[in-house]
């Protein structure tokens, strides 16, 4: 399908090199079509590239405008990817135990020259919380949750909650004063869960004779923390959720979300 290329004498070495490169077997094995400057190739680039094929081939003019989407969903996704990458790098240096957690973070800061991975990860996480909110706000203000996109809105809400939980579980990992007290304040709420928290309304009603079924060592907060206070158990639990559990779930939901954006008729617009 590659058109024959005429290497005219006027073309400089860069163009000649480019023409040669794009005709090598290696190049043509990777990219199965010419540059996307004809309609045919613009279709092909979308259909043959696994990353680009999340997109349709063509899209409403209003939908590509920053004015309409603010690119907030896209930025949220990008921040998630960059958090995955920086998080992976941090995992090389970090051990989730009372003995090492704090010192590993100190080490990261003292021994890695010009290191900004921790910063990229932390500020990226803050930014992602903000972009998810703004994305939701945009979707609301354009009425894009209305039929046929109701379900995708619901998937979005779950992802919003997961984003907050990811941020929350990550907050504990540096194991400094800021971390454990923020998580203590946050997780204390679980104590008051109706029926399931030992200080929640109704919990006292759940008893067998004199034996209370819900107490500090088996209630909702205990399940969250793996203990009665923010300690070793909580650190491990939060670590596993933060690095494996929640990212997996949110990644699956993102796949559903993007799929549904396409299946619900692409980016919304007036009928």
């Amino acid at each position: 399908m590659a058109d024959t290329k005429i290497v005219a004498p006027k073309e400089g070495p860069a163009t000649q090199f480019w023409n040669w490169l794009t005709e090598t077997q290696v190049w043509t094995s990777v990219f199965r079509h010419d540059r996307p400057n004809t309609d045919r190739n613009r279709v092909l680039v979308m259909l043959s590239n696994v990353f680009l094929h999340l997109h349709p081939v063509r899209i409403r003019k209003s939908g590509v405008k920053l004015r309409y989407t603010w690119c907030m969903g896209g930025l949220t996704f990008f921040l998630f990817l960059s958090l995955t990458l920086t998080g992976l790098l941090l995992m090389f240096y970090y051990r989730p135990t009372l003995e090492y957690a704090y010192t590993d973070i100190v080490g990261l800061r003292e021994h890695v020259p010009l290191g900004i991975m921790r910063e990229m990860h932390r500020w990226g996480a803050h930014a992602m919380v903000i972009t998810v909110w703004l994305h939701m706000f945009r979707v609301f203000m354009t009425g894009s949750y209305k039929p046929p996109r109701e379900f995708n809105w619901s998937v979005g809400v779950i992802m919003l909650v997961l984003t907050l939980l990811l941020s929350f579980t990550g907050y504990l990992l540096p194991w400094d004063q800021l971390a454990i007290w923020a998580i203590t304040v946050g997780s204390n709420m679980a104590r008051a869960t109706p029926f399931l928290g030992h200080e929640g309304p109704g919990a006292q009603l759940l008893r067998l004779g004199d034996v209370p079924l819900i107490h500090a060592a088996d209630d909702a907060r205990f399940a969250l923390l793996g203990g009665t206070f923010v300690g070793e158990g909580a650190l491990l639990r939060f670590y596993v959720l933060h690095c494996v559990g929640l990212p997996l779930v949110i990644a699956v939901l993102m796949a559903v979300h993007f799929w549904r954006v396409r299946k619900d008729g692409g980016i919304s617009g007036p009928m």
Binding site: L66, A192, M271
Partner: protein, 358 residues
């Protein structure tokens, strides 16, 4: 200088702060034609920018605003102000087009364009800009690391991560089982319900205000006033012992706040009927319980016949009752706030026997 700071400190008082936020929302919605002009939007942003610039010369202000984890919230304030203004503006512009018979701008842009290059390049540029911002931010602002965790040493104030500070602020008015468990769950459920409750077919896929007045006003109230402004309040204006501190005020651990809150039962039995509090909880709290039952079960029915009649007819009973229940739950926060501020009301129902306090 001193006068301006004093003024800012008193405006930031939770009561005034909250009422001003509500007022600002109503004004923005009512006077949206004016608000939509560029002058107002950029003027507001500029004013806010000047305020922060002015603030950085003050040691107390600087201390709290430059705490590394608070910096994103400063960004959030600007972004939120901008995007709320921007989406109202786009709505107003579209409403003018619709009124003139042209249909929303998105309608005029219904033609299809190639994703490559039109969308792919926009995405690439956004991605690069976002990376640049993130990298520069990371180079200039170190991630915080405090003393190693010490369970024996509780910092004062102890704050949850900033995105939960709206919930922590609710703890001033509600017990943890409501502020920390029931209301957050209802927020999630409520958000999920929105598309199933909202039957208005108009305003699907374009900015508009006129076609969705009530929906947008209610959402803005929940999102911008309750959620966002309480986060700002909880982050910047709550200090030791969760006392209020103005933006230019020193966080004094010994600041005293009078705790003179009174339960509804005491108001009625002791101050009203001049008897003691009855022994049994169900007699003692009967008025509060009736009030809550009325609010949750009777009020929706009464509203369906009166104020919300048109909604009842439009939505049908199931949607109407779910929507009204969620709406009343949302409004319970500002109601409780007002009751606290005006009557020093502590609990409406206070059954400490079962940890059941409302």
């Amino acid at each position: 200088m001193g006068f301006l700071k004093g003024l800012a400190n008193s405006i930031a008082d939770p009561r005034l702060f909250f009422l001003l936020a509500v007022g600002a929302l109503l004004l923005a919605v009512w006077k949206r034609e004016t608000v939509a002009s560029n002058g107002v939007g950029y003027g507001l942003l500029g004013f806010l920018g000047l305020f922060f610039l002015f603030g950085t010369f003050d040691a107390n202000f600087r201390l709290i605003v430059t705490k590394p984890d608070n910096v994103p919230i400063v960004g959030l304030i600007f972004l939120l102000l901008f995007f709320v203004w921007y989406s109202i503006r786009e709505g107003v512009l579209n409403d003018r087009r619709i009124a003139a018979g042209n249909g929303p701008i998105e309608k005029a842009e219904s033609d299809r364009v190639w994703v490559w290059p039109d969308l792919v390049y926009t995405e690439l540029i956004s991605l690069i800009l976002c990376s640049v911002v993130l990298i520069v931010w990371s180079i200039f602002l170190k991630a915080p690391l405090e003393q190693p965790a010490n369970p024996a040493n509780t910092p004062n104030p102890s704050k949850a991560p900033w995105y939960f500070l709206g919930l922590q602020e609710m703890l001033v008015y509600f017990d943890p089982w409501l502020a920390g468990v029931v209301l957050p769950s209802l927020i999630i459920v409520g958000l999920i319900c929105i598309p199933y409750i909202d039957k208005n077919p108009k305003g699907n896929g374009y900015y508009t205000f006129v076609e969705r007045k009530a929906e947008i006003t209610i959402f803005l109230f929940g999102f911008a006033v309750l959620w966002a402004s309480l986060i700002v309040l909880g982050t910047f204006l709550r200090g030791p012992n969760w006392n209020f501190f103005g933006p230019f005020e020193f966080w004094d651990i010994h600041k005293l706040a009078a705790l003179t809150n009174v339960d509804l039962s005491e108001y009625i039995w002791v101050r009203g009927l001049r008897t003691g509090l009855p022994q049994q909880w169900y007699i003692r709290e009967i008025f509060g319980i009736l009030l809550v039952l009325f609010y949750v079960f009777a009020l929706p029915v009464i509203l369906a016949k009166g104020l919300f009649k048109t909604y009842y007819e439009k939505l049908g009973a199931p949607r109407y009752y779910v929507a009204t229940f969620l709406f009343l739950m949302m409004m319970s926060l500002p109601m409780k706030m007002l009751a606290r501020w005006i009557f020093n009301l502590k609990y409406i129902v206070h059954i400490s026997e079962f940890f059941f306090n409302i």
